[in-house]
């Protein structure tokens, strides 16, 4: 197990290097001058002299490959650089904002697991019945609503009209409810579908048929016998869906005025704030790879057949 983990962790390095290089190349290919953008906030149009002075200050006069190498060199020393836009150290900004996104992602993941597995199990247990059809419809709706639109409609209903929840802002669970519902909408729908199909596959296997022949109840069979086996592919998918959540949080955070890393990335893209963007990409890349690894470990705990050399975890 340990060699496997070490191998996985080592493989993290080229992945991070690759995505940071890709992000840099994409950023460099995009038109727009970060110095000009940093100066032209609030509708002001900077002069050529002001732009030149700012370019010098930001180190933009260096050749692009050199800029990347300098950045990579600093990262190895633990310095993510300084944001072009705000002038603050990127690592400080990310650390300040990451807990907000983490809170949002944790709530969304909890909802995805709870709703996804719950709805999927209910649909499988009541296959072909009305419950199954209703759940199928709900899943389709969840999948087809764009996040920003769903967010605005929820604000309109739950905050503006019913006044049950606050429209936006960072705070306790009440503040996280709408954003995490929106963020988990498509994830929980996909999870529900996968859970349903995985359960139905399990239910078609001989051990289930045998159990049913012995008179075991459908619900008991589904939850106690089939679900643990069906959980393996679902866990793997949940691990991967965390990446989608981090990506989706860009929209959700800006609609719900949450100062997380998603809204930071949005500002960074708009302002060609390369250091901020690189920092974001590194962080989310690491989270993505690590969550995949975590999902692997959970999967191995659930299913001994996929353990390396079939040993215990």
């Amino acid at each position: 197990m340990r060699p496997y983990l070490i191998r996985k962790l080592i493989s993290l390095l080229p992945v991070l290097l690759g995505i940071s290089l890709l992000a840099f190349v994409l950023g460099a290919m995009t038109p727009g001058n970060p110095a000009e953008l940093a100066l032209s906030r609030g509708g002001y149009e900077p002069t050529a002299r002001q732009i030149a002075e700012m370019e010098e200050k930001m180190g933009l006069n260096e050749p692009r490959p050199m800029q990347y190498l300098q950045w990579a060199g600093r990262v190895l020393k633990g310095d993510l650089g300084t944001s072009y836009y705000s002038g603050n150290p990127v690592s400080r900004e990310l650390m300040r904002r990451f807990p907000v996104t983490l809170k949002l992602a944790a709530c969304s993941m909890a909802l995805t697991v709870f709703l996804g597995i719950g709805l999927g199990t209910a649909a499988a247990a009541r296959q072909g019945k009305l419950t199954d059809r209703i759940i199928g419809t709900v899943i389709n709706i969840q999948l087809s609503l764009p996040a920003f639109w769903l967010a605005l409609l929820m604000i309109l209903l739950f905050a503006e009209t019913l006044r049950w929840l606050p429209t936006s802002g960072n705070g306790g669970l009440r503040y996280m409810l709408m954003p995490s519902l929106v963020l988990s909408a498509s994830g929980s729908a996909v999870t529900a579908r996968l859970t349903r199909s995985a359960l139905l596959e399990e239910l078609g296997k001989q051990y289930c048929t045998a159990a049913m022949a012995r008179g075991i109840g459908r619900w008991r069979l589904v939850v106690r016998n089939a679900l643990p086996n069906a959980a393996v592919p679902v866990t793997a998918m949940l691990g991967n869906s965390l990446g989608g959540m981090l990506g989706g949080s860009i929209v959700v955070e800006s609609v719900f005025a949450l100062p997380g890393i998603g809204s930071y990335a949005l500002t960074a893209v708009a302002n060609r704030d390369y250091p901020a963007l690189q920092g974001y990409v590194l962080l989310t890349g690491a989270v993505y790879v690590l969550s995949g690894l975590l999902a692997d470990i959970i999967g191995m705990a659930l299913n001994p057949r996929i353990r390396p050399e079939g040993k215990k975890v």
């Binding site: 995009t30 906030r41 802002g169 909408a185």
Partner: protein, 527 residues
């Protein structure tokens, strides 16, 4: 009707989400302590919550720490309702006869929020800070050369007098110094690099009690303020970037008003009309919206074609139809919020436009690319209206929504025909606008491929720069404006308006060109 649609949509959503909503109801916790339900207030000193689209106090790394509209710091020179310079921390001033020296007499008995005295030493320390180089800001770059062109020396002549010496006559220097041009902070709040070492300390009617970046800034009344104290005791200004969310928060009673630029789009403001619980106010904005025409290429390198475009437009249809009347049609390149502005009649005449276009195009039609900012929803409708009118004079527009930065790159490369742009006026001295758009080496003239040039404008600008007499300078500016309405370096559409919306539970919430006057805001009587 729109409201009914919104409600219906919400109901549909409620039905579709019912299993989801009930499934997670249990996870709701207690309200966060910082949330203040403004409706439940009882006393006049209760906190007032407002919101804007960006952080109005971006913090230590911002050249100004926070915006002028928070009334935390004050300038030496501010402006009155006509945008003319008015005393603030400088009580009075005088200019030498040759226009190269300005002496400022400072207000006495003024305290910074940290208890230290405001005096000439503090002003000099702030000039020293500006000399350290250009600082970026969310508002305007803090740039000594832009605010004090040709400055040779600054010195303290006594504890409450400061003298500035320029290498060239500077009769309009006061206009450069208005607001952001002469901000003064307590020397104790910035370090030797000029960076703020904590919350900024000014002399204004409000001091910053707490600043949580990207969430809110909490202002508290400064009781030792030298002037009329602020009416509200505490004002919290939240950051809600999304316009629709801000609007919902206003209607839900979470916030009492919206503040800053882009506070509320015209389409949402129209929804509040007729609602007694809310009011919308508008004031002249420093922003002007216009069309750039690629003057380096056929057909807009011919002045007749630029005139034809201006004559063919129906600007009122744009302001009324797209912006709900919040805009004033203009053909003048200069924004109307400056005392140097001169009013010119807006001439629109399709027959004359066709005639001029025919002289350039003959019997041919020309196809051009019309770029506009895709992130501003209203610009699409506006572009369609304009393209329709231009079709009548033989210009076929290919409308292309773009991201602003990419759009500017294309304009710089000259790969466009028409582009919709805007320009804010950073202070009331209009020279920079003329210089940038109308001089041959002006940066906008070049970067937007305007291809404009006029010897008379060059001569007038040189004359204005060396004129010690303010009237001579003003005359030059009037003439340049007149030329701009005849030769169209760009084709102006309309002067913008600042729109704000607020709950009628508040009083003193009046629109200003750049936000509201915060010290006047209070809970309305009898509520």
């Amino acid at each position: 009707m729109k409201d009914a649609l919104r409600k219906m949509a919400a109901l549909l959503l409620a039905l579709s989400l019912l299993p989801g909503a009930t499934g997670c109801g249990g996870s709701g916790g207690k309200a966060a302590p910082e949330q203040v339900r403004t409706e439940e207030r009882a006393d006049p000193d209760a906190e007032i919550v407002l919101a804007g689209y960006r952080s109005l106090a971006p913090g230590e790394k911002d050249g100004y720490y926070c915006s002028k509209i928070l009334y935390v710091w004050e300038p030496l020179v501010t402006q009155d309702d006509t945008a003319a310079p008015a005393p603030c921390l400088a009580e009075s001033w005088e200019m030498s006869d040759d226009g190269t020296q300005w002496t400022f007499y400072l207000r006495q008995g003024v305290k910074f929020h940290d208890g230290s005295d405001f005096n000439a030493d503090a002003v000099i320390a702030n000039f020293d800070r500006m000399m350290l180089g250009v600082r970026s800001s969310s508002f305007y770059p803090l740039d000594m050369d832009a605010y004090y062109p040709n400055l040779e020396a600054y010195e303290k002549t006594d504890d409450y007098t400061v003298r500035l010496t320029f290498s060239k006559p500077a009769p309009t220097q006061l206009y450069n110094m208005v607001n952001f041009g002469s901000a003064v902070y307590s020397p104790g709040c910035f370090d030797e690099n000029g960076d703020f070492s904590g919350v900024c300390v000014g002399t204004g009617p409000f001091r910053i009690e707490e600043n949580v970046l990207d969430e809110y800034v909490l202002l508290e009344r400064f009781d030792r303020y030298w002037g009329e104290p602020a009416k509200a005791k505490r004002i919290r200004i939240r950051v809600i970037p999304d316009a629709d969310t801000r609007f919902a928060a206003l209607k839900a009673g979470e916030i009492m008003g919206v503040i800053d630029l882009n506070a509320i789009p015209a389409s949402l403001a129209a929804e509040l009309e007729g609602n007694d619980n809310f009011a919308v106010a508008a004031a002249k904005s420093t922003m002007i919206r216009f069309l750039c025409l690629n003057g380096t290429q056929f057909p807009f390198n011919d002045v007749r074609m630029r005139q034809a475009v201006s004559l063919a437009l129906d600007r009122s249809a744009v302001t009324e139809g797209i912006y709900n009347g919040y805009g004033t049609p203009t053909t003048n390149i200069l924004n109307y919020v400056t005392p140097f502005y001169k009013e010119f009649p807006v001439e629109e005449n399709m027959d004359r436009a066709k005639e001029l276009a025919a002289q350039v195009l003959g019997d041919e039609r020309v196809s051009v690319t019309y770029l506009y900012n895709g992130s501003e929803a209203a610009q699409k409708g506006e572009a369609e209206l304009i393209a329709f009118r231009l079709g009548e004079i033989g210009i076929d527009c290919r409308l292309m929504p773009m991201e602003m930065t990419n759009m500017k790159e294309r304009m710089k490369a000259g790969e466009y025909g028409i582009a919709r742009m805007q320009q804010g006026l950073s202070n009331s001295e209009p020279a920079s606008v003329f210089r940038r758009f109308m001089l041959t080496d002006g940066d906008h003239n070049q970067n937007y491929s305007l291809g404009y040039g006029n010897d008379e404008v060059e001569a007038l600008m040189a004359e204005a720069e060396n004129a010690a007499d303010m009237d001579v300078r003003a005359e030059c500016y009037y003439r340049i404006q007149e030329i701009s309405t005849q030769e169209f370096p760009v084709v102006p559409l309309f002067n913008d308006m600042t729109l704000i919306a607020y709950s009628t539970k508040l009083s003193g919430y009046e629109a200003r060109p750049y936000g509201i006057e915060l010290p006047l805001v209070a809970w309305a009587d009898g509520l």
